[in-house]
Symmetry: none
Subunit: 228 residues, 4 copies
């Protein structure tokens, strides 16, 4: 708390920031497997020992670096119509996820680092965060009478976001506004048709169980869906 400590903390903070930045950069450039403490240290203009003094190992370093970057400002629209709100949400998501920093973060949380529970949790929260914040949009639409009561807000938002992530993670297709707008169209149509309501409210659907049992073992995601 005295001035001398303040200065070392000051220096320490500078080192910490530099190392964080270097870690994210290396992570984005080379991935988790090829990330080297020495590499990070050199990029941060710091000696290897200095890094090891503050972080136990490579993992802690990465977790720590990522943890500070989960929060992404997603402005929650309130334009007055559900469609416009969805459109704003979808386009913002696209913009956000195609930014370089987001791609780096995505690469990190889908690297081997995801074997660490903390990193897997970061990945989960990236989505959860946005989900929670976007749900009011649905609630407002329901209260406006645009959507049927009982509409599952979380499902609506997932439906909106899912195609974007599918393209980002699986198909490697371009992700642009057209993708966002298409997601809006689908989600909007399904929501208006009550597809996000309680299952019983789908009168024209023959019971899926008519198709017979689906066999055992269809669920159990495990703690980490991908890397576990």
């Amino acid at each position: 708390m005295d001035a001398e400590h303040a200065r070392s903390v000051g220096r320490g903070a500078k080192v910490l920031a530099a190392v964080h930045a270097a870690t994210l950069a290396e992570l984005a450039e080379k991935g988790y497997a090829a990330l080297t403490v020495d590499g990070v240290a050199q990029r941060a203009g710091v000696h290897k020992t200095t890094v090891y003094r503050r972080w136990k190992d490579r993992e802690s370093l990465v977790v720590d670096a990522l943890a500070g970057h989960v929060a992404a400002d997603v402005p929650i629209p309130d334009t007055g119509t559900f469609e416009a709100d969805l459109t704003v949400l979808a386009r913002a998501l696209v913009r956000l996820m195609t930014a370089p920093s987001a791609r780096a973060l995505l690469a990190a949380v889908f690297s081997d680092a995801a074997r660490l529970p903390e990193v897997a949790e970061v990945r989960r929260q990236i989505f959860e965060d946005r989900l929670r914040r976007a749900e009011p949009v649905v609630a407002r639409a329901v209260s406006r009478g645009e959507l049927p009561a009982g509409t599952d807000a979380a499902e609506v938002i997932k439906s909106l976001a899912a195609p974007v992530y599918l393209r980002l993670l699986m198909t490697a297709e371009p992700v642009d506004e057209a993708v966002a707008d298409q997601a809006v169209r689908v989600t909007l149509a399904a929501a208006r048709a009550g597809a996000f309501g309680p299952p019983a409210s789908s009168p024209s659907a023959p019971s899926p169980s008519d198709l017979g049992p689906s066999g055992p073992g269809s669920s159990d995601p495990g703690p980490s869906a991908v890397s576990g």
Copy 2:
């Protein structure tokens, strides 16, 4: 053709299969970064040098092991109704992706191995394969008059699969038949409403451009969506 080197080929094939299996198992258990050639060799009951005799390095080993396991038999339903077809497809996808082997494959293609272009390509093809094979279902529905002409088959299938992958990869929620059935409801409703048709055919939608420009840099898929 000749039974001459059938036996030596037989031995070779046995080694090859054992190593492939061991590679996938290690990949699933420990991830790419922690995958060791010696570990794979021992699990396969084979000596390290034997592995190096057939594969140039760790990467080739992993790529080769994954490449041989892309194909997954997805039975294409033809029940007579679009809804039933979709339900079969969705449930099959859920069953397939929640099987241990598929989780291992998924873990592998989302590990640091994904930095290898070949592995990224494998990941892409996992989806593409199933997409292509499922498209006829949509075509048949259109020809039966169940769906509007101009419905984009690929988009329909993506819409069906996206929620499943979202849960598998991002949210780590349980993936079961309920998820499949919900995806069917949404996709079905949207498809019937023409949401997979040409954009201009959506009369009730105010032009998204009313919301103003979206800013720069909203696309750029890059060769590998996640790891690039």
Copy 3:
């Protein structure tokens, strides 16, 4: 012993000779440590397996190849005078040991191969052989009255040969006729002076024990003088 065996032995003999020659050549070129069964086999125009079929291992191969080359024809002179005999002997030795084949043999028996008792024995015999055959020269000189009775023939020959070997093995000096002739001068002078007779016959020598004890442990050659 039947004809069929004879012919296969015939082929075998050709292979055997080729491998022997190749072994010696490789030995001379690269030394024992770098001698490779595969290398020998290829030089012999034969497959590795064929070599292993006949010899247990590298060592046996080398031992066997060397064993057949110990014998070197040393003509024993009988010119009528001791000096001329010595000169012939010394020059023959020089000629013999500076020939390429002898250098190869020498290199082999002074390589790590000498750790094998058989090879060490070969080395010992190389000298012993020549020693035994040369001893009559001294005997004749004694009987002619050129040398004192009681002259130790073996010591005389060793004295003659020692400078040659010293130069070959230790000092790497040129070994030529001058060396031979110098050895003759020394040995001749010493022999005439009775230096190879019984120790007591050296009247002018003060007892070496006047110099005091020499300390313990001055002998014990071990089984192999060099490599043991």
Copy 4:
């Protein structure tokens, strides 16, 4: 000079000494061909990588270990008489060469390691060193009038040492004081008789050329006498 890295140098020096000793020990025990870096490292209580950090490869390690052990203190006698000096020299040589450490060194410089020019040079210098230091003994004897002027000091010393090396390297006979004393008798007699003087001064010798030409190729020492 500064005590600053005295301690780190101290540690380094300790490692260096341990590895040197271990190298020589392994060399003596197993020979050069069977010498293993890992084996040396373990014997030295050090990790393999530490060895590779200081030495490029096995060869450098061996060369370096041997080079540091060439120097052997040979006390040069000055008793007042040539014979006593020779006796001291010869007995000291015997004592020296029969010591375990010398046998190890000898085994090393006559192993396959001798293919390395540096090791061959070490071997050469082992002898040269002692030769140079012993020459004054002859010079003093000449100046005292014990030996004829023009006596070749180097030849005298070689004559004294040669029988010892012959027994050590070729015949594997015991090497003890008797050998030393016998070498003294021979060398002394020959020296007194002028056998180490200029060739022309040997009046009783018929020209060796009376024996005719010796054929071609009698010299060519090559860089390494044994292993070349």
